[in-house]
Amino acid sequence: MSDTPSLTTGDRETPSAESPLETPTPVTDSDERRRLHDVWVAGTEEPDWVKDATDEGAQELLSEADETSLATQRGTLVDDDYLVEDDVDEEERQIINMGPQHPSTHGVLRLQLELEGETIRRVKPIIGYLHTGMEKTAETLTYMQGSTNVTRMDYLSPFFNELCFSLAVEDLLGIDIPPRAQAIRILMTELNRVSSHLLWVATQGMDIGALSMMIYGWRERELFLEFFESATGLRMNHNYIRPGGVAADLHDGWEDEVEAILEAMPGALAEYEELLNENPIFLDRTMGVGVITPDEALAYGVTGPALRAAGVDWDLRKAMPYSGIENYEFDVPLGKHGDVHDRYLVRFGEVRQSLGIVRQVLETMPEGDFRTEDRKVTPPPRKRIDESMEALIHHFKLFTEGFKVPPGSVYQAVESPRGELGMYLVSDGSASPWRLHVRGPSFANVQALPVMMTDSLVADIVSTLASVDPVLGDVDR
């Protein structure tokens, strides 16, 4: 704001001292917050802050002073000790936008970059281009329909979304799940972890120029999708894991199909590693790129392979086991450097471990029910409906009204391929959730992108971004 009155503001009242933009001191946090809650009634005179903002928020990076103080408070101030300390003239800096429609931003993420030549000085991820209002939609669907909704959040790992939602509902209901249903859930989720990591290696390869990697990754992923399709009826968005168990028992011959996958994978992994492990371009573009230290990762709430690549031993399957995962043996691969290459190694390690879990499930799959016998959530068997009027009514009511869940709230988290996927569910005793809040792992990981990207080169953005494996459906929901 300049002191010279301009044509447009000349006939208006001089802005009062409280007007935040006129305040000479830097805008403090609470002022900023108050400003966000100011309302402006359409038709009245526009306050200045309305004119500065667009419907996508203020189109600026934070002021540098704000950002530094924020980073200092979090203890995550990154000292660039390898760059010359010269103060560069403001004129030398340029701001460019990458996305939301960009071939390598992994969905509709937009990055605002402040460049100084080839070096990135600041990054601001802008999200919301895929906001689907799923948390709100969850409130209008019954618990029975809930899986259909949540499965579409993180669309590369639909089983994990369903599992997390179902576990939360079951916790509130206080019902037990038969061992076979639990084993099926583990089988599906661990296969899903592999297929998700395969897609990751395909896109990571594609983004840094290893185009053949893309073809290979999709080739093997198709094996998994075919198995999912024969078991659940859909290639993606399965709606298979539901409160109370799973939707259907595994089909005949599933053992052979899983066996075929387990046989094909080691060879495929060896093929990928042959392509990547000693490929100088791949190594150059991943080693020492997009580094995040363990402290920074923890401060920003990074989870999943990105956290473990920094060397932090945190895997919810070990820390807060769910669905009987504690009965299987597996290790948690850890990295040392927290760079893109370590994320690659950690993911490949996880693929091997998951295949090991799948092998164990295959060998120890218990017999029994695939869903709970609790008539409160499970409809009566088809035969009973023919015989008894009560069973028919029960069936009808279950599918029209859904089942009621006792009031209460619960937080349930699972280790999705991207990190801690958590759902906070509040029930008011009716048949649909009062509130569902989702802690998407990609959301927290995207927030840490500025730490990883600051002071690196433009060309590394794509590599770093891909290595975090954000799924925008999970970020925006």
Binding site: P100, T132, T137, W218
Partner: protein, 156 residues
């Protein structure tokens, strides 16, 4: 198309057919992936299903070099202006395929956040049903569009 009067090795046809044939056989889609459907769109282009068979494996990053837009996924209110801008940047003639329930009608998300069908923002030629449509469905949609183009006039 083959005429008796023409010397051997020659084909005669009319301009409409020739131009339309050329258009259908090298349609380049602009990559406009939005959500889950985009993953299936990529799967369609990848090894197993091989979209190259229809001359459209080159997903273009720049709308200027593309003549088909496959809107794959749910379109949020915030993304709608971006979609329209990308569409406007494409050179004529151009076509739009709306892939999936969300793109065609808002799908299961009838709420404040989603545009209830991309046909509110851009003109759609072919709707592909499914959630997500499998690669076969998408290919069927593409072939339907090719038929439409073959049957149509070259000026549009």
């Amino acid at each position: 198309m083959v005429s008796e009067a023409a010397p051997p090795g020659f084909l005669t046809t009319n301009l409409d057919k020739a131009v339309n044939w050329v258009r259908t056989q090298s349609m380049w889609p602009v990559s406009f992936g939005l959500a889950c459907c985009a993953i299936e769109m990529m799967a369609t282009g990848a090894a197993h299903n091989d979209l190259a068979r229809f001359g459209m494996e080159v997903f273009r990053a720049s709308p200027r070099q593309a003549d088909l837009m496959i809107v794959a996924g749910r379109l949020s209110q915030k993304m709608a202006p971006v979609l329209r801008q990308v569409y406007d940047q494409m050179a004529e003639p151009k076509w739009v395929i709306s892939m999936g329930a969300c793109a065609s009608s808002g799908g299961m998300f009838n709420n404040y956040a989603l545009v209830q069908g991309v046909d509110q923002v851009v003109p759609v030629d072919v709707y592909v049903p499914g959630c997500p449509p499998g690669p076969q469905s998408l290919m069927h949609g593409i072939l339907t569009l090719q038929d439409q183009i073959m049957a149509g006039e070259i000026k549009r």
